[in-house]
Symmetry: C2
Subunit: 329 residues, 2 copies
Protein backbone atom coordinates (compact mmCIF):
# COMPACT_ATOMS: atom_id res chain seq x y z
CA UNK A 1 0.00 0.00 0.00
CA UNK A 2 1.28 3.45 -0.90
CA UNK A 3 1.06 5.66 2.15
CA UNK A 4 1.75 8.91 0.34
CA UNK A 5 -0.89 11.56 -0.28
CA UNK A 6 0.61 13.41 -3.26
CA UNK A 7 2.93 16.17 -2.19
CA UNK A 8 1.42 16.62 1.21
CA UNK A 9 1.09 13.93 3.84
CA UNK A 10 3.15 10.80 4.28
CA UNK A 11 5.32 8.99 6.77
CA UNK A 12 8.22 11.33 6.00
CA UNK A 13 6.14 14.26 7.25
CA UNK A 14 5.55 12.36 10.49
CA UNK A 15 9.25 11.53 10.84
CA UNK A 16 10.17 15.18 10.25
CA UNK A 17 7.63 16.15 12.93
CA UNK A 18 9.20 13.66 15.34
CA UNK A 19 12.59 15.31 14.83
CA UNK A 20 11.11 18.76 15.36
CA UNK A 21 9.24 17.73 18.50
CA UNK A 22 12.14 15.81 20.04
CA UNK A 23 12.86 17.16 23.52
CA UNK A 24 9.65 19.25 23.53
CA UNK A 25 7.08 16.52 24.15
CA UNK A 26 6.88 13.55 26.50
CA UNK A 27 7.55 10.08 25.12
CA UNK A 28 4.45 8.60 26.76
CA UNK A 29 4.58 4.97 27.86
CA UNK A 30 2.76 1.99 26.38
CA UNK A 31 1.04 0.16 29.22
CA UNK A 32 -0.40 -3.33 29.50
CA UNK A 33 -2.35 -4.99 32.28
CA UNK A 34 -3.01 -8.74 32.33
CA UNK A 35 -6.17 -8.05 34.36
CA UNK A 36 -7.43 -5.62 31.72
CA UNK A 37 -6.51 -8.15 29.03
CA UNK A 38 -8.76 -10.67 30.74
CA UNK A 39 -11.65 -8.17 30.85
CA UNK A 40 -11.16 -7.38 27.14
CA UNK A 41 -10.59 -10.94 25.96
CA UNK A 42 -7.49 -9.79 24.06
CA UNK A 43 -4.07 -8.29 24.69
CA UNK A 44 -4.36 -4.50 24.96
CA UNK A 45 -1.41 -2.13 24.58
CA UNK A 46 -2.34 1.37 25.70
CA UNK A 47 -0.35 4.40 24.54
CA UNK A 48 -0.98 6.77 27.45
CA UNK A 49 -1.16 10.17 25.75
CA UNK A 50 -3.18 11.39 28.71
CA UNK A 51 0.28 11.79 30.30
CA UNK A 52 1.38 14.15 27.53
CA UNK A 53 2.12 17.80 28.35
CA UNK A 54 -1.19 19.74 28.69
CA UNK A 55 -2.95 16.40 29.32
CA UNK A 56 -3.55 15.38 25.70
CA UNK A 57 -1.83 14.61 22.39
CA UNK A 58 -2.88 18.00 21.00
CA UNK A 59 0.41 19.76 21.79
CA UNK A 60 2.15 17.50 19.26
CA UNK A 61 0.21 18.81 16.26
CA UNK A 62 0.03 22.41 17.43
CA UNK A 63 3.74 22.58 18.16
CA UNK A 64 4.70 20.91 14.89
CA UNK A 65 2.63 23.52 13.05
CA UNK A 66 4.25 26.35 15.03
CA UNK A 67 7.72 24.96 14.36
CA UNK A 68 6.97 24.87 10.61
CA UNK A 69 6.49 28.67 10.51
CA UNK A 70 9.24 31.08 9.50
CA UNK A 71 10.58 33.67 11.94
CA UNK A 72 8.52 36.57 10.60
CA UNK A 73 5.28 34.55 10.67
CA UNK A 74 6.11 33.32 14.18
CA UNK A 75 6.63 36.88 15.34
CA UNK A 76 3.02 37.70 14.40
CA UNK A 77 1.82 34.66 16.30
CA UNK A 78 -0.83 31.95 16.09
CA UNK A 79 -4.57 31.77 16.74
CA UNK A 80 -7.25 29.13 17.23
CA UNK A 81 -10.75 28.89 18.68
CA UNK A 82 -10.84 25.70 20.72
CA UNK A 83 -11.55 25.96 24.43
CA UNK A 84 -10.47 22.41 25.00
CA UNK A 85 -7.43 20.25 24.47
CA UNK A 86 -6.42 21.88 21.16
CA UNK A 87 -6.60 25.38 22.65
CA UNK A 88 -4.33 24.33 25.51
CA UNK A 89 -2.01 22.63 23.03
CA UNK A 90 -1.70 25.79 20.94
CA UNK A 91 -1.23 28.01 24.00
CA UNK A 92 1.43 25.73 25.49
CA UNK A 93 3.18 25.22 22.16
CA UNK A 94 3.35 28.97 21.58
CA UNK A 95 4.74 29.52 25.07
CA UNK A 96 7.44 26.87 24.54
CA UNK A 97 8.57 28.62 21.37
CA UNK A 98 7.98 32.11 22.67
CA UNK A 99 5.49 33.35 20.05
CA UNK A 100 2.20 35.17 20.69
CA UNK A 101 -1.02 33.14 20.77
CA UNK A 102 -4.69 34.16 20.69
CA UNK A 103 -7.41 31.75 21.77
CA UNK A 104 -10.93 32.79 20.75
CA UNK A 105 -13.43 31.56 23.33
CA UNK A 106 -17.15 31.99 23.93
CA UNK A 107 -17.72 34.40 26.80
CA UNK A 108 -19.70 31.69 28.61
CA UNK A 109 -16.81 29.18 28.46
CA UNK A 110 -16.03 27.48 31.79
CA UNK A 111 -13.65 29.69 33.74
CA UNK A 112 -11.23 26.79 34.26
CA UNK A 113 -10.74 26.48 30.49
CA UNK A 114 -10.19 30.22 30.11
CA UNK A 115 -7.73 30.17 33.01
CA UNK A 116 -5.83 27.20 31.58
CA UNK A 117 -5.28 28.97 28.24
CA UNK A 118 -4.35 32.19 30.05
CA UNK A 119 -1.95 30.28 32.34
CA UNK A 120 0.07 29.34 29.27
CA UNK A 121 0.35 33.01 28.39
CA UNK A 122 -2.21 33.11 25.59
CA UNK A 123 -4.29 36.22 24.91
CA UNK A 124 -7.97 35.38 25.30
CA UNK A 125 -10.52 36.97 22.95
CA UNK A 126 -14.09 36.40 24.10
CA UNK A 127 -17.08 36.44 21.75
CA UNK A 128 -20.82 36.18 22.17
CA UNK A 129 -21.88 32.77 20.84
CA UNK A 130 -25.46 34.01 20.39
CA UNK A 131 -24.55 36.83 18.00
CA UNK A 132 -21.08 36.01 16.67
CA UNK A 133 -19.46 33.17 14.72
CA UNK A 134 -16.14 32.01 16.17
CA UNK A 135 -14.61 31.39 12.74
CA UNK A 136 -15.44 34.95 11.67
CA UNK A 137 -14.04 36.39 14.90
CA UNK A 138 -10.81 34.45 14.36
CA UNK A 139 -10.63 35.31 10.65
CA UNK A 140 -10.89 39.03 11.43
CA UNK A 141 -7.92 38.78 13.82
CA UNK A 142 -5.96 36.77 11.24
CA UNK A 143 -6.51 39.60 8.73
CA UNK A 144 -5.86 42.43 11.16
CA UNK A 145 -2.79 41.02 12.87
CA UNK A 146 -1.36 38.59 10.35
CA UNK A 147 -1.63 35.69 12.78
CA UNK A 148 -1.59 32.09 11.57
CA UNK A 149 -4.71 30.04 12.23
CA UNK A 150 -3.98 26.56 13.58
CA UNK A 151 -6.69 24.09 12.63
CA UNK A 152 -7.46 21.45 15.25
CA UNK A 153 -7.10 18.69 12.63
CA UNK A 154 -7.42 19.72 8.98
CA UNK A 155 -3.78 20.66 8.40
CA UNK A 156 -0.97 18.39 7.24
CA UNK A 157 1.49 19.76 9.81
CA UNK A 158 -1.03 19.18 12.60
CA UNK A 159 -1.77 15.67 11.33
CA UNK A 160 1.97 14.91 11.12
CA UNK A 161 2.47 16.11 14.69
CA UNK A 162 -0.34 13.90 15.98
CA UNK A 163 1.14 11.07 13.92
CA UNK A 164 4.29 11.13 16.05
CA UNK A 165 2.15 9.40 18.70
CA UNK A 166 1.89 6.50 16.26
CA UNK A 167 5.55 6.58 15.34
CA UNK A 168 6.48 6.25 19.03
CA UNK A 169 3.91 3.49 19.43
CA UNK A 170 5.50 1.57 16.54
CA UNK A 171 8.95 1.89 18.11
CA UNK A 172 7.70 0.90 21.55
CA UNK A 173 5.78 -2.13 20.31
CA UNK A 174 8.75 -3.26 18.23
CA UNK A 175 11.10 -2.88 21.21
CA UNK A 176 8.73 -5.11 23.18
CA UNK A 177 8.62 -7.65 20.36
CA UNK A 178 4.92 -7.08 19.67
CA UNK A 179 3.31 -7.05 16.21
CA UNK A 180 -0.20 -5.64 16.67
CA UNK A 181 -3.20 -7.18 14.90
CA UNK A 182 -5.26 -4.02 15.28
CA UNK A 183 -4.91 -0.31 15.98
CA UNK A 184 -7.89 1.55 17.48
CA UNK A 185 -7.93 5.38 17.69
CA UNK A 186 -10.40 7.94 19.05
CA UNK A 187 -11.66 10.21 16.28
CA UNK A 188 -13.40 13.52 15.82
CA UNK A 189 -11.95 15.55 12.92
CA UNK A 190 -9.47 12.75 12.27
CA UNK A 191 -6.09 14.39 12.88
CA UNK A 192 -4.88 11.88 15.45
CA UNK A 193 -6.28 8.85 13.66
CA UNK A 194 -4.96 9.86 10.22
CA UNK A 195 -1.48 10.39 11.65
CA UNK A 196 -1.36 7.33 13.90
CA UNK A 197 -2.87 4.92 11.39
CA UNK A 198 -0.47 6.11 8.67
CA UNK A 199 2.47 5.36 10.96
CA UNK A 200 1.14 1.93 11.92
CA UNK A 201 0.18 0.96 8.34
CA UNK A 202 3.62 1.85 7.00
CA UNK A 203 5.22 -0.31 9.69
CA UNK A 204 2.66 -3.13 9.58
CA UNK A 205 0.59 -3.02 6.35
CA UNK A 206 -1.58 -5.94 7.53
CA UNK A 207 -2.77 -4.25 10.75
CA UNK A 208 -6.55 -3.73 11.01
CA UNK A 209 -7.30 -0.07 11.65
CA UNK A 210 -10.34 1.34 13.46
CA UNK A 211 -11.54 4.79 14.47
CA UNK A 212 -13.99 5.24 17.35
CA UNK A 213 -16.60 8.02 17.55
CA UNK A 214 -19.37 8.80 20.04
CA UNK A 215 -22.82 7.54 19.03
CA UNK A 216 -24.48 10.37 17.12
CA UNK A 217 -21.13 11.97 16.26
CA UNK A 218 -20.05 9.32 13.78
CA UNK A 219 -19.49 11.75 10.93
CA UNK A 220 -16.23 10.03 9.94
CA UNK A 221 -17.92 6.63 9.61
CA UNK A 222 -20.58 8.31 7.44
CA UNK A 223 -17.81 9.98 5.43
CA UNK A 224 -16.28 6.54 4.78
CA UNK A 225 -19.55 5.60 3.03
CA UNK A 226 -20.21 8.84 1.16
CA UNK A 227 -16.57 9.55 0.36
CA UNK A 228 -16.94 13.22 1.29
CA UNK A 229 -16.34 14.86 4.70
CA UNK A 230 -19.68 14.76 6.52
CA UNK A 231 -21.03 17.00 9.28
CA UNK A 232 -23.08 16.15 12.34
CA UNK A 233 -26.69 17.09 11.70
CA UNK A 234 -28.11 16.61 15.19
CA UNK A 235 -26.06 17.25 18.32
CA UNK A 236 -26.85 14.81 21.13
CA UNK A 237 -25.44 15.25 24.62
CA UNK A 238 -22.27 13.32 25.33
CA UNK A 239 -19.64 13.22 28.06
CA UNK A 240 -17.06 12.57 25.32
CA UNK A 241 -16.67 16.31 24.60
CA UNK A 242 -13.05 15.86 23.41
CA UNK A 243 -14.25 13.96 20.32
CA UNK A 244 -17.65 15.59 19.77
CA UNK A 245 -16.67 18.02 17.03
CA UNK A 246 -19.16 18.83 14.25
CA UNK A 247 -17.21 17.84 11.12
CA UNK A 248 -14.87 15.28 9.56
CA UNK A 249 -11.72 16.71 8.04
CA UNK A 250 -11.30 17.26 4.31
CA UNK A 251 -7.60 16.43 4.57
CA UNK A 252 -7.89 13.60 7.09
CA UNK A 253 -10.66 11.69 5.31
CA UNK A 254 -8.63 10.73 2.19
CA UNK A 255 -5.85 9.40 4.42
CA UNK A 256 -8.25 7.24 6.39
CA UNK A 257 -10.04 6.09 3.22
CA UNK A 258 -6.73 5.12 1.68
CA UNK A 259 -5.95 2.85 4.62
CA UNK A 260 -9.34 1.08 4.61
CA UNK A 261 -10.16 2.14 8.16
CA UNK A 262 -13.29 0.82 9.90
CA UNK A 263 -15.62 3.01 11.98
CA UNK A 264 -16.89 2.02 15.44
CA UNK A 265 -19.12 3.91 17.88
CA UNK A 266 -19.44 3.88 21.66
CA UNK A 267 -22.01 5.39 24.01
CA UNK A 268 -21.48 7.38 27.21
CA UNK A 269 -22.00 4.38 29.44
CA UNK A 270 -19.34 2.38 27.61
CA UNK A 271 -16.97 5.36 27.83
CA UNK A 272 -17.52 5.57 31.60
CA UNK A 273 -16.75 1.88 32.01
CA UNK A 274 -13.50 2.42 30.12
CA UNK A 275 -12.61 5.41 32.34
CA UNK A 276 -13.21 3.18 35.35
CA UNK A 277 -11.08 0.36 33.94
CA UNK A 278 -8.22 2.75 33.11
CA UNK A 279 -8.40 3.96 36.73
CA UNK A 280 -8.49 0.46 38.18
CA UNK A 281 -6.14 -1.49 35.94
CA UNK A 282 -3.79 1.11 34.46
CA UNK A 283 -3.81 3.83 37.19
CA UNK A 284 -4.47 6.42 34.51
CA UNK A 285 -6.74 9.45 34.65
CA UNK A 286 -8.43 9.37 31.23
CA UNK A 287 -11.27 11.64 30.10
CA UNK A 288 -14.33 9.96 28.57
CA UNK A 289 -13.48 11.06 25.01
CA UNK A 290 -9.90 9.88 25.55
CA UNK A 291 -11.16 6.45 26.61
CA UNK A 292 -13.41 5.83 23.58
CA UNK A 293 -11.00 3.41 21.90
CA UNK A 294 -10.61 1.40 25.11
CA UNK A 295 -14.40 1.46 25.47
CA UNK A 296 -14.80 0.01 21.97
CA UNK A 297 -12.35 -2.80 22.73
CA UNK A 298 -13.93 -3.54 26.12
CA UNK A 299 -17.41 -3.63 24.57
CA UNK A 300 -16.03 -5.91 21.82
CA UNK A 301 -17.34 -3.67 19.05
CA UNK A 302 -15.20 -5.65 16.63
CA UNK A 303 -13.82 -9.16 16.83
CA UNK A 304 -10.66 -8.56 18.84
CA UNK A 305 -10.78 -11.91 20.67
CA UNK A 306 -7.33 -13.28 21.30
CA UNK A 307 -5.68 -10.52 19.28
CA UNK A 308 -2.98 -7.99 20.05
CA UNK A 309 -4.72 -4.60 20.05
CA UNK A 310 -2.94 -1.25 20.26
CA UNK A 311 -4.94 1.83 21.21
CA UNK A 312 -4.47 5.43 22.27
CA UNK A 313 -5.82 6.89 25.53
CA UNK A 314 -5.66 10.37 24.07
CA UNK A 315 -6.41 12.75 26.93
CA UNK A 316 -6.93 13.15 30.67
CA UNK A 317 -8.54 16.56 31.05
CA UNK A 318 -11.65 15.61 32.97
CA UNK A 319 -13.67 17.43 35.63
CA UNK A 320 -13.37 15.73 39.03
CA UNK A 321 -17.16 15.38 39.22
CA UNK A 322 -17.37 13.46 35.92
CA UNK A 323 -14.39 11.31 36.86
CA UNK A 324 -15.89 10.52 40.27
CA UNK A 325 -19.19 9.59 38.64
CA UNK A 326 -17.38 7.20 36.27
CA UNK A 327 -15.28 5.42 38.90
CA UNK A 328 -18.09 5.13 41.44
CA UNK A 329 -20.23 2.87 39.26
CA UNK B 1 31.33 9.01 49.29
CA UNK B 2 31.74 5.24 49.19
CA UNK B 3 28.39 3.71 48.36
CA UNK B 4 29.35 0.12 49.12
CA UNK B 5 28.01 -1.79 52.10
CA UNK B 6 30.72 -4.46 52.50
CA UNK B 7 29.98 -7.54 50.47
CA UNK B 8 26.28 -6.98 50.26
CA UNK B 9 24.65 -3.89 48.82
CA UNK B 10 26.04 -1.44 46.31
CA UNK B 11 25.31 0.08 42.94
CA UNK B 12 26.56 -3.08 41.22
CA UNK B 13 23.77 -5.04 42.90
CA UNK B 14 21.27 -2.53 41.51
CA UNK B 15 22.78 -2.73 38.03
CA UNK B 16 22.66 -6.54 38.14
CA UNK B 17 19.01 -6.29 39.19
CA UNK B 18 18.29 -3.97 36.25
CA UNK B 19 19.73 -6.57 33.87
CA UNK B 20 17.67 -9.33 35.46
CA UNK B 21 14.45 -7.29 35.37
CA UNK B 22 14.91 -6.03 31.82
CA UNK B 23 11.86 -6.93 29.76
CA UNK B 24 9.89 -8.00 32.84
CA UNK B 25 9.01 -4.59 34.30
CA UNK B 26 7.74 -1.33 32.83
CA UNK B 27 10.19 1.52 32.33
CA UNK B 28 7.87 4.05 33.95
CA UNK B 29 7.99 7.65 32.69
CA UNK B 30 9.35 10.71 34.47
CA UNK B 31 6.67 13.41 34.26
CA UNK B 32 6.80 17.16 34.76
CA UNK B 33 4.05 19.76 34.81
CA UNK B 34 4.78 23.50 34.71
CA UNK B 35 1.49 24.09 36.57
CA UNK B 36 2.54 21.69 39.33
CA UNK B 37 5.96 23.36 39.42
CA UNK B 38 4.23 26.67 40.10
CA UNK B 39 2.20 25.14 42.94
CA UNK B 40 5.37 23.63 44.45
CA UNK B 41 7.63 26.62 43.92
CA UNK B 42 10.25 24.35 42.38
CA UNK B 43 10.77 22.07 39.39
CA UNK B 44 9.35 18.63 40.15
CA UNK B 45 10.26 15.48 38.22
CA UNK B 46 7.92 12.62 39.07
CA UNK B 47 8.93 9.02 38.44
CA UNK B 48 5.48 7.43 37.98
CA UNK B 49 5.91 3.99 39.53
CA UNK B 50 2.15 3.91 40.03
CA UNK B 51 2.15 2.82 36.36
CA UNK B 52 4.35 -0.19 37.16
CA UNK B 53 2.92 -3.70 36.74
CA UNK B 54 0.68 -4.54 39.74
CA UNK B 55 0.32 -0.79 40.38
CA UNK B 56 3.46 -0.25 42.47
CA UNK B 57 7.25 -0.58 42.46
CA UNK B 58 7.05 -3.71 44.61
CA UNK B 59 7.27 -6.16 41.72
CA UNK B 60 10.85 -4.96 41.06
CA UNK B 61 12.21 -6.16 44.38
CA UNK B 62 10.11 -9.30 44.58
CA UNK B 63 11.04 -10.38 41.07
CA UNK B 64 14.74 -9.64 41.57
CA UNK B 65 14.69 -11.84 44.66
CA UNK B 66 12.87 -14.62 42.80
CA UNK B 67 15.34 -14.40 39.90
CA UNK B 68 18.25 -14.73 42.34
CA UNK B 69 17.07 -18.19 43.44
CA UNK B 70 18.45 -21.42 41.97
CA UNK B 71 16.19 -23.81 40.09
CA UNK B 72 15.64 -26.19 42.99
CA UNK B 73 14.76 -23.37 45.40
CA UNK B 74 12.46 -21.84 42.78
CA UNK B 75 10.66 -25.16 42.37
CA UNK B 76 9.70 -25.07 46.05
CA UNK B 77 8.40 -21.53 45.67
CA UNK B 78 8.21 -18.28 47.59
CA UNK B 79 6.10 -16.94 50.45
CA UNK B 80 5.27 -13.63 52.06
CA UNK B 81 2.59 -12.15 54.32
CA UNK B 82 1.71 -8.77 52.86
CA UNK B 83 -1.87 -8.18 51.75
CA UNK B 84 -0.90 -5.04 49.92
CA UNK B 85 1.49 -3.96 47.21
CA UNK B 86 4.29 -6.35 48.22
CA UNK B 87 1.95 -9.34 48.24
CA UNK B 88 0.76 -8.52 44.74
CA UNK B 89 4.36 -7.98 43.65
CA UNK B 90 5.41 -11.40 44.94
CA UNK B 91 2.36 -13.11 43.43
CA UNK B 92 2.86 -11.45 40.04
CA UNK B 93 6.61 -12.02 40.06
CA UNK B 94 6.13 -15.71 40.83
CA UNK B 95 3.57 -16.02 38.05
CA UNK B 96 5.91 -14.37 35.54
CA UNK B 97 8.65 -16.89 36.39
CA UNK B 98 6.31 -19.81 36.87
CA UNK B 99 7.14 -20.70 40.48
CA UNK B 100 4.66 -21.39 43.29
CA UNK B 101 3.79 -18.56 45.69
CA UNK B 102 1.99 -18.50 49.03
CA UNK B 103 0.57 -15.29 50.44
CA UNK B 104 -0.34 -15.43 54.13
CA UNK B 105 -3.29 -13.12 54.81
CA UNK B 106 -5.52 -12.36 57.78
CA UNK B 107 -8.91 -13.99 57.27
CA UNK B 108 -10.54 -10.57 57.63
CA UNK B 109 -8.47 -9.02 54.81
CA UNK B 110 -10.52 -7.06 52.24
CA UNK B 111 -11.80 -9.50 49.64
CA UNK B 112 -10.38 -7.36 46.81
CA UNK B 113 -6.85 -7.87 48.17
CA UNK B 114 -7.36 -11.61 48.53
CA UNK B 115 -8.78 -11.78 45.01
CA UNK B 116 -5.89 -9.77 43.56
CA UNK B 117 -3.30 -12.15 45.01
CA UNK B 118 -5.35 -15.15 43.90
CA UNK B 119 -5.75 -13.65 40.41
CA UNK B 120 -1.99 -13.84 39.99
CA UNK B 121 -2.15 -17.54 40.80
CA UNK B 122 -0.85 -17.38 44.36
CA UNK B 123 -2.03 -19.83 46.99
CA UNK B 124 -3.71 -17.93 49.82
CA UNK B 125 -3.25 -19.12 53.41
CA UNK B 126 -5.59 -17.36 55.82
CA UNK B 127 -4.86 -16.96 59.52
CA UNK B 128 -6.76 -15.58 62.48
CA UNK B 129 -5.10 -12.28 63.46
CA UNK B 130 -6.61 -12.54 66.98
CA UNK B 131 -4.96 -15.85 67.82
CA UNK B 132 -2.10 -16.28 65.35
CA UNK B 133 1.07 -14.39 64.43
CA UNK B 134 1.59 -13.99 60.68
CA UNK B 135 5.36 -14.42 60.93
CA UNK B 136 4.91 -17.72 62.75
CA UNK B 137 2.34 -18.93 60.24
CA UNK B 138 4.73 -18.11 57.39
CA UNK B 139 7.74 -19.61 59.18
CA UNK B 140 5.91 -22.89 59.66
CA UNK B 141 5.20 -23.10 55.92
CA UNK B 142 8.82 -22.19 55.15
CA UNK B 143 9.95 -25.12 57.30
CA UNK B 144 7.34 -27.59 56.05
CA UNK B 145 7.57 -26.83 52.35
CA UNK B 146 11.05 -25.37 51.92
CA UNK B 147 9.65 -22.14 50.49
CA UNK B 148 11.73 -18.96 50.44
CA UNK B 149 10.40 -16.04 52.45
CA UNK B 150 10.54 -12.73 50.59
CA UNK B 151 10.89 -9.80 52.95
CA UNK B 152 9.06 -6.63 51.91
CA UNK B 153 12.25 -4.59 52.41
CA UNK B 154 14.95 -6.10 54.61
CA UNK B 155 16.75 -8.10 51.95
CA UNK B 156 19.59 -6.96 49.70
CA UNK B 157 18.04 -8.49 46.58
CA UNK B 158 14.73 -6.77 47.29
CA UNK B 159 16.49 -3.46 47.94
CA UNK B 160 18.48 -3.83 44.72
CA UNK B 161 15.31 -4.51 42.75
CA UNK B 162 13.61 -1.42 44.16
CA UNK B 163 16.81 0.50 43.43
CA UNK B 164 16.31 -0.08 39.70
CA UNK B 165 13.61 2.59 39.96
CA UNK B 166 16.39 4.99 40.87
CA UNK B 167 18.73 3.72 38.17
CA UNK B 168 16.06 4.40 35.55
CA UNK B 169 15.39 7.80 37.09
CA UNK B 170 19.09 8.67 36.79
CA UNK B 171 19.12 7.66 33.13
CA UNK B 172 15.91 9.53 32.37
CA UNK B 173 17.01 12.73 34.10
CA UNK B 174 20.38 12.60 32.36
CA UNK B 175 18.70 12.09 28.96
CA UNK B 176 16.63 15.20 29.67
CA UNK B 177 19.73 17.15 30.70
CA UNK B 178 18.59 17.54 34.31
CA UNK B 179 20.85 17.39 37.36
CA UNK B 180 18.57 17.12 40.41
CA UNK B 181 19.23 19.11 43.57
CA UNK B 182 17.13 16.77 45.70
CA UNK B 183 15.65 13.28 45.68
CA UNK B 184 12.55 12.61 47.82
CA UNK B 185 11.29 9.06 48.42
CA UNK B 186 8.33 7.57 50.30
CA UNK B 187 9.54 5.32 53.11
CA UNK B 188 8.26 2.60 55.39
CA UNK B 189 10.79 -0.21 55.89
CA UNK B 190 13.20 1.61 53.61
CA UNK B 191 13.66 -0.79 50.69
CA UNK B 192 12.69 1.68 47.99
CA UNK B 193 14.48 4.63 49.53
CA UNK B 194 17.72 2.73 50.24
CA UNK B 195 17.83 1.49 46.65
CA UNK B 196 16.79 4.72 44.95
CA UNK B 197 18.99 7.00 47.04
CA UNK B 198 22.01 4.74 46.50
CA UNK B 199 21.52 5.01 42.74
CA UNK B 200 21.10 8.80 42.85
CA UNK B 201 24.03 9.38 45.23
CA UNK B 202 26.40 7.34 43.07
CA UNK B 203 25.37 9.37 40.05
CA UNK B 204 25.16 12.75 41.81
CA UNK B 205 27.04 12.69 45.16
CA UNK B 206 25.91 16.24 45.96
CA UNK B 207 22.17 15.52 45.71
CA UNK B 208 20.17 16.16 48.91
CA UNK B 209 18.27 13.00 49.88
CA UNK B 210 15.02 12.84 51.86
CA UNK B 211 12.68 10.09 52.99
CA UNK B 212 9.03 10.84 53.77
CA UNK B 213 6.95 9.00 56.37
CA UNK B 214 3.40 9.44 57.67
CA UNK B 215 3.15 11.45 60.90
CA UNK B 216 3.29 8.93 63.76
CA UNK B 217 5.00 6.31 61.57
CA UNK B 218 8.35 8.09 61.37
CA UNK B 219 10.34 5.16 62.68
CA UNK B 220 13.06 5.69 60.08
CA UNK B 221 13.60 9.31 61.12
CA UNK B 222 13.85 8.13 64.73
CA UNK B 223 16.28 5.42 63.62
CA UNK B 224 18.48 8.10 62.04
CA UNK B 225 18.84 9.62 65.51
CA UNK B 226 19.25 6.45 67.55
CA UNK B 227 21.29 4.61 64.93
CA UNK B 228 19.29 1.42 65.40
CA UNK B 229 16.16 0.27 63.53
CA UNK B 230 13.21 1.61 65.49
CA UNK B 231 9.64 0.35 65.72
CA UNK B 232 6.35 2.24 65.85
CA UNK B 233 5.11 2.26 69.41
CA UNK B 234 1.64 3.68 68.85
CA UNK B 235 -0.36 3.06 65.68
CA UNK B 236 -2.42 6.07 64.61
CA UNK B 237 -4.94 5.85 61.78
CA UNK B 238 -3.65 6.89 58.38
CA UNK B 239 -4.84 6.70 54.79
CA UNK B 240 -1.20 6.12 53.78
CA UNK B 241 -1.47 2.37 54.43
CA UNK B 242 1.22 1.59 51.83
CA UNK B 243 3.90 3.17 54.02
CA UNK B 244 2.46 2.51 57.47
CA UNK B 245 4.54 -0.53 58.38
CA UNK B 246 5.65 -1.06 61.98
CA UNK B 247 9.45 -1.19 61.68
CA UNK B 248 12.50 0.30 59.98
CA UNK B 249 14.76 -2.21 58.25
CA UNK B 250 17.99 -3.47 59.79
CA UNK B 251 19.59 -3.70 56.35
CA UNK B 252 18.09 -0.52 54.91
CA UNK B 253 18.98 1.76 57.83
CA UNK B 254 22.79 1.59 57.43
CA UNK B 255 22.45 2.43 53.73
CA UNK B 256 20.32 5.48 54.47
CA UNK B 257 22.60 6.54 57.34
CA UNK B 258 25.61 6.26 55.08
CA UNK B 259 24.06 8.69 52.61
CA UNK B 260 23.13 11.31 55.21
CA UNK B 261 19.43 11.14 54.39
CA UNK B 262 16.97 13.56 56.01
CA UNK B 263 13.58 12.50 57.38
CA UNK B 264 10.33 14.37 56.63
CA UNK B 265 6.75 13.62 57.68
CA UNK B 266 3.37 14.38 56.12
CA UNK B 267 -0.18 14.07 57.45
CA UNK B 268 -3.26 12.60 55.78
CA UNK B 269 -4.55 15.97 54.64
CA UNK B 270 -1.26 16.78 52.91
CA UNK B 271 -1.29 13.33 51.28
CA UNK B 272 -4.82 13.93 49.98
CA UNK B 273 -3.80 17.26 48.48
CA UNK B 274 -0.95 15.52 46.70
CA UNK B 275 -3.31 12.82 45.36
CA UNK B 276 -5.53 15.61 44.04
CA UNK B 277 -2.61 17.43 42.42
CA UNK B 278 -1.35 14.23 40.77
CA UNK B 279 -4.87 13.75 39.38
CA UNK B 280 -5.16 17.32 38.16
CA UNK B 281 -1.68 18.13 36.89
CA UNK B 282 -0.15 14.75 36.04
CA UNK B 283 -3.27 12.67 35.20
CA UNK B 284 -1.97 9.94 37.49
CA UNK B 285 -3.90 7.75 39.90
CA UNK B 286 -1.68 7.73 42.98
CA UNK B 287 -2.56 6.18 46.34
CA UNK B 288 -2.09 8.38 49.44
CA UNK B 289 1.03 6.51 50.60
CA UNK B 290 2.42 6.70 47.08
CA UNK B 291 1.94 10.46 47.07
CA UNK B 292 3.75 11.18 50.35
CA UNK B 293 6.91 12.49 48.69
CA UNK B 294 4.89 14.82 46.47
CA UNK B 295 2.94 15.90 49.55
CA UNK B 296 6.18 16.79 51.33
CA UNK B 297 7.37 18.89 48.40
CA UNK B 298 4.00 20.61 47.98
CA UNK B 299 3.85 21.41 51.70
CA UNK B 300 7.45 22.69 51.48
CA UNK B 301 8.63 20.49 54.29
CA UNK B 302 12.19 21.35 53.31
CA UNK B 303 13.60 24.31 51.42
CA UNK B 304 13.05 23.18 47.84
CA UNK B 305 12.36 26.69 46.50
CA UNK B 306 13.68 27.12 42.98
CA UNK B 307 15.35 23.71 43.02
CA UNK B 308 15.13 20.68 40.76
CA UNK B 309 13.44 17.99 42.83
CA UNK B 310 13.08 14.35 41.76
CA UNK B 311 10.55 12.16 43.55
CA UNK B 312 8.82 8.80 43.25
CA UNK B 313 5.04 8.36 43.07
CA UNK B 314 5.38 4.80 44.23
CA UNK B 315 1.92 3.23 43.90
CA UNK B 316 -1.61 3.64 42.60
CA UNK B 317 -3.59 0.93 44.38
CA UNK B 318 -6.31 3.03 45.96
CA UNK B 319 -9.97 2.34 46.71
CA UNK B 320 -12.28 4.43 44.52
CA UNK B 321 -13.97 5.87 47.63
CA UNK B 322 -10.69 7.18 49.08
CA UNK B 323 -9.62 8.53 45.71
CA UNK B 324 -12.95 10.29 45.21
CA UNK B 325 -12.70 11.80 48.66
CA UNK B 326 -9.24 13.15 47.86
CA UNK B 327 -10.10 14.69 44.49
CA UNK B 328 -13.40 16.19 45.62
CA UNK B 329 -11.80 18.55 48.13
Amino acid sequence: MNSKIPGQFDILAIKRAAERLSGHVTRTPVLNSPMLDQVCGCQVFVKAESLQKTGSFKIRGALNKILSLDAETLRRGVITYSAGNHGQGVAAGAKLIGCPAVIVLPKNAPSIKIENCRWWGAEIVLYDPHTQDRAEVAQKIVEQRGMTFISPFDDFDVMAGQGTTGLELCEQLEEAGITPDAIVVNCSGGGLSAGVITALKVKWPEVDAYIVEPVGFDKMAHSFISGIPEKVTRVPDTIMDAIAGPAAGAKTLPVLLQHGVHGLTVNDNEAKQAVRSAFRFLKLVVEPGGAASLAAVMARKADFTGKKVALICSGGNVDPSIFMHAISE
